[in-house]
């Protein structure tokens, strides 16, 4: 067991974990952050995407011990004071989700994308979300959501 300390959604946590434990397992099993989900075994689907020090990572591809001393934001930490993040609001407005399973990862990736590029073209959005799979929406309304967030909240869309 290895002791780790990190900040998750603004709260400082300390735990003993097995060195092999993945960050996503740590979030779900130790912290009950079940908003972040597991969709595959091969880091293809992106459903587990969170932010590590403000950049998106697939949390199935990071060991919990690697997050020691760092700051993690999950989908559960995105809305502030009951107000949806502009990207969350855009997904609702544009019907960018159906079953909602890919949504946490999709939103976290979209926020990162807009942090990098606040005014993306449709093609840039499509390439930027390539690592996140969705089976319900055909991506049409997800892409629309990200473009909507960029248009309606400008530079603020990506700001956490």
């Amino acid at each position: 067991m290895t002791q780790i300390s990190l900040t998750v959604d603004g709260t400082q946590v300390t735990d003993d974990v097995e060195p092999r434990m993945l960050l996503v397992q740590y979030l779900r099993e130790k912290l009950g952050k079940t908003g972040t989900v597991i969709g595959c075994d091969t880091s293809n689907c992106g459903a587990c995407t969170v932010h590590l020090d403000g950049r998106s990572v697939k949390s199935c591809n990071v060991l919990a011990v690697q997050a020691d001393g760092h700051e993690v934001t999950t989908i559960e930490g995105l809305a502030r004071n009951g107000e949806l993040h502009p990207v969350q609001e855009a997904f609702r407005e544009c019907h960018g989700l159906q079953c909602g399973f890919c949504t946490p990862g999709m939103i976290m990736q979209s926020v990162d994308l807009l942090n990098e590029n606040p005014h993306p073209t449709e093609a840039e959005v499509r390439v930027g979300l390539e690592g996140n799979l969705c089976r319900c929406t055909g991506y049409h309304n997800i892409v629309k959501s990200v473009l909507y967030a960029a248009e309606h909240s400008g530079e603020k869309a990506g700001v956490q």
């Binding site: 097995e18 092999r20 397992q25 779900r28 009950g32 952050k33 079940t34 908003g35 972040t36 989900v37 597991i38 969709g39 595959c40 075994d41 091969t42 293809n44 689907c45 459903a47 999950t74 989908i75 559960e76 995105l78 809305a79 949806l84 969350q88 997904f91 609702r92 407005e93 019907h95 989700l97 159906q98 079953c99 909602g100 399973f101 890919c102 949504t103 946490p104 939103i107 449709e122 959005v125 499509r126 390439v127 979300l129 390539e130 690592g131 996140n132 799979l133 969705c134 089976r135 319900c136 929406t137 055909g138 991506y139 049409h140 309304n141 997800i142 892409v143 629309k144």
Partner: protein
């Protein structure tokens, strides 16, 4: 007195309401089955067969049992008598052959991925570690993998059955009296007309819902509670009770948030049954969550059919007959409705056309592969693909535009209601209107001009235009029809409405959503019907304790069947409330009218709102003699017919003739799905459906190697499309309401998937037809397209499957359907 929002007039239906479901899904406050943790809960890991066909010689569980925190290891022998059996609800013929399907194999496995043992441990990781220690000795048996080979009975998937043939089912229009003799039509066309013959492989697909299946069983307490990632909690409950001996009243099944299904969770699964058996055995709450690889390998697959098609027509392109000879791959077992899937297409091969004769022959066969069952569209995509490909080939033979050949054969809007050669009565539709609108949106004539220009110039990148004028049957299904097809259950659904004292309205439905937005759409319907506010309606579902009766969600039935029950329950509420309102208003009941949420006395300004009637009924201080103080109501609705949505889909594909690379340039669809409740949700259903159908055309295939191992067993190999592979779509609607439903809806869940596959392949073939290409096998990978171009003149149909999984220079296995074979 009551804290309810202001009730609007009937304006909810047709409004693009944002979804009620979204708040929790957007913020991660979700209840996926795998999120559940119960005190003392144990975790399961399955030990699966690596062989396609083998007998189990021995299982040594001692090392696993001694591993850290392992509580038990259970084999099929251990629970042979208590585990129940996987049921087949649709034996399509009285003499259908079907092997027994135990949830956990007892002495023989029939596909790679079948469960042979289960490890129960305190954590999921410890269970998985110990599963590696279970030592199973198999004696391998010959496996049959190809469905056409299976039909020859050379190698048997189940030796005890003495054949791989499960059932033969025929529809013949001459026998049924719905049309002429197809053999005569073909003979005549051979002498003096056009005959088109094609063989089409409907490749195996995997539903690949994003949420892996998960099941939690809690045997503590009076009832056994099962949470499962399922589309069909009610059917799971029935089947568990029917096969395990546990009383139905002692079983509660909950489908909490369910992350997609697409037919893939229209299943009773071996994993559910094993988890149920283990929980009863260890008397502790247990959880099993599959990995993605397990899901792709062992959750049921779809399609997997081989079609032999013969179309007869006159020289000017009027179809005189269609003959379909189908082999359908059941996989290793007859799954819940697996045997019947091809029959859902049997009535749709004639599509929107006036074919005078038709025959459909279907042989279902066993192979040693994962069993097959419903996948979005289920039988209808295969039928639609076949007929829409054939119509393009006919257009080419006659030398006219593909839309012109369709127009020569389709049912005109004046001809409805129309009874087809397959015996279905289509009540409404307007193929001319949908096609005209789609052509205009697409800029059809301009794109045809550009295509000619590129052909004339000999451009490296050619343009093709694909047409698909589809119809489907939705709203599964009238119970009597199901009975006549030997289906084991009815097709009705159930709803209840509870009028709460606080003015809120609870709507309990028997259909079970997993992304479709029922909570929103059904709230809109009830808001209009009862004249209450959208936000005052709460839709409850997915728990057999709350929703005690239902047939669940699949086959585009939730709105067409489930919501019809809701409407009827709402009307009963009004009827029950009316005498109470009359009593309170001191009026004759015949003088009381209900409109926009208010009971009014004719010719006066007196009246009261339905919420006030609900409160007065709750208090029950003052109500008429001889009736109950209750205005809640339930309804069970059995549909009178299927509904028949249709549409015209147009697709422009660019094909690089040097590399075989295809690029979608535009996709326009105009769907007639009857009345639209929520256009935002409908748009989402169409987009998602389109991409699943496009994926069959271009990317997806479950590929097995020659030993029966699924080589496309992860998302690295099974090519789900990404945002970068797809484009934005242009969608539109025409509306001819269904006459069979009170709301006029027809269903939309499967339309996009059914329509889009032939539109895409027709476009690719259209781009290359001048090079001699008349078919490309799905999925149309660049390699196959390239081969089709380079074998032009010999028909151009490519052989073999997607890119071989392994480098052929390396030791290992090219896929059985590997390229170049």
């Amino acid at each position: 007195m009551t804290a309810t929002a202001e009730a609007p007039a009937a304006t909810e239906i047709g409004k693009d309401r944002r979804r009620k479901e979204d708040q929790r899904l957007l913020t991660g406050r979700t209840r996926w089955t795998d999120n559940l943790t119960l005190p003392g809960m144990l975790h399961l890991a399955m030990v699966r067969s690596p062989h396609a066909h083998a007998t189990i010689a021995s299982i040594d569980t001692s090392a696993a049992r001694n591993a850290t925190n392992v509580v038990a290891v259970v084999t099929g022998q251990d629970i042979a008598d208590t585990q129940g059996v996987m049921i087949n609800a649709w034996p399509i013929t009285p003499d259908q052959k079907a092997p027994a399907h135990p949830p956990m194999a007892v002495d023989r496995v029939a596909f790679a991925g079948e469960v042979v043992a289960v490890v129960i441990a305190r954590s999921a990781a410890e269970a998985r570690d110990a599963a590696e220690l279970v030592d199973v000795q198999f004696d391998e048996l010959p496996a049959v993998l190809d469905l056409q080979e299976a039909a020859k009975d050379t190698v048997l998937a189940h030796p005890d059955l003495e054949t791989n043939k499960s059932a033969f089912w025929r529809f013949d229009s001459a026998e049924a009296g719905t049309g002429g003799n197809v053999d005569e039509a073909i003979e005549k066309a051979r002498a003096d007309g056009i005959v088109i013959e094609r063989e089409i492989d409907q490749q195996r697909l995997i539903p690949a819902f994003m949420e892996p299946r998960s099941v939690v069983v809690d045997p503590t307490g009076e009832q056994i509670t099962i949470w499962s990632s399922t589309q069909i909690p009610h059917i799971v409950r029935f089947a568990l009770a029917a096969t395990t001996g546990v009383a139905e009243s002692k079983i509660r099944v909950v489908a909490p948030d369910v992350g997609g299904g697409f037919g893939g969770k229209l299943a009773v699964t071996p994993e559910e049954w094993i988890t149920f058996a283990v929980a009863r055995r260890v008397q502790k709450p247990v959880k099993y969550t599959e990995t993605r690889s397990e899901s792709l390998q062992s959750a049921h697959h779809g399609r997997a059919q081989h079609q032999r098609l013969t179309l007869a027509a006159t020289k000017d392109g009027r179809v005189t007959g269609l003959k379909v000879e189908l082999i359908a791959d059941l996989g290793a077992y007859v799954a819940l409705v697996g045997g019947g899937i091809p029959l859902l297409g049997a009535f749709m091969y004639n599509a929107i056309y006036k074919f005078p004769s038709y025959r459909f022959d279907c042989q279902t066969v066993f192979t040693n592969k994962t069993f097959t069952d419903a996948y979005r569209g289920a039988g209808r995509p295969e039928a639609t693909y076949a007929v829409e490909r054939l119509m393009d080939e006919l257009a080419s033979e006659v030398g006219v535009d593909p839309l012109e050949i369709r127009q020569r054969n389709w049912i005109t809007h004046e001809e409805f209601p129309f009874t087809t050669v397959a015996g279905m009565t289509y009540d409404s539709g307007n193929y001319e209107a949908a096609t005209a609108k789609a052509k205009e949106m697409f800029g059809y004539d301009d794109l045809r001009a550009e295509q000619r220009q590129r052909r004339d110039a000999g451009d490296r990148v050619q343009l093709g235009i694909g047409v698909s004028t589809f119809t489907e049957m939705c709203g599964l299904a009238p119970s009597r029809v199901l009975g006549s097809l030997d289906y084991g259950a009815g097709g009705w659904d159930h709803a209840g409405i509870r009028m709460l004292a606080t003015g809120k309205v609870e709507v309990v439905v028997g259909v079970s959503p997993h992304g479709q937005g029922h909570e929103t759409a059904f709230s809109q319907i009830v808001a209009d019907r009862l004249g209450v506010a959208f936000d005052d309606v709460e839709v409850l579902h997915g728990d057999t304790q709350i929703s005690h009766k239902g047939m669940d969600t699949y086959g585009s039935r939730s709105l067409v069947v489930g919501a019809e029950a809701v409407v009827r329950a709402a009307d009963k509420v009004i009827e029950k409330a009316k005498p109470i309102a009359a009593h309170l208003l001191e009026a004759n009941v015949d003088d009381v009218e209900f409109a926009a949420g208010r009971f009014g006395v004719k010719g006066t300004d007196q009246g009261m709102g339905i919420a006030d009637v609900a409160l007065a009924t709750f208090a029950a201080h003052n109500y008429p003699e001889g009736i109950e103080p209750n205005i809640d109501a339930e309804s069970t609705y059995d549909p009178v017919n299927f509904s028949f949505p249709h549409g015209t889909h147009l697709c422009a594909m660019e094909v690089d003739t040097e590399t075989g690379q295809t690029t979608m340039r535009r996709y326009v669809c105009v769907d007639d799905i009857g009345t639209i409740i929520n256009p935002l949700i409908v748009g989402g259903q169409v987009h998602g459906g389109l991409v699943q159908g496009i994926a069959q055309a271009l990317w997806e295939e479950a590929v097995y190697d020659e030993s029966g191992t699924l080589v496309s067993g992860s998302f690295v190999d099974y090519l789900l499309p990404t945002s970068a592979d797809t484009i934005s779509f242009e969608t539109g609607h025409t509306t001819s309401p269904s006459s069979y439903t009170m709301l006029g809806t027809k269903g939309v869940g499967e339309a996009g998937t059914i329509a889009s596959t032939p539109a895409v392949v027709n476009a690719i073939v259209d781009a290359l037809r001048h090079l001699g290409v008349n078919d490309v096998r799905m999925p149309c990978t660049p390699e196959r397209v390239w081969r089709a171009i380079h074998s032009a003149g010999s028909g151009g149909a490519t052989e073999g499957a997607a890119m071989p999984h392994f480098d052929e220079a390396e030791p290992g296995q090219p896929s059985t359907e590997g390229a170049g074979q």
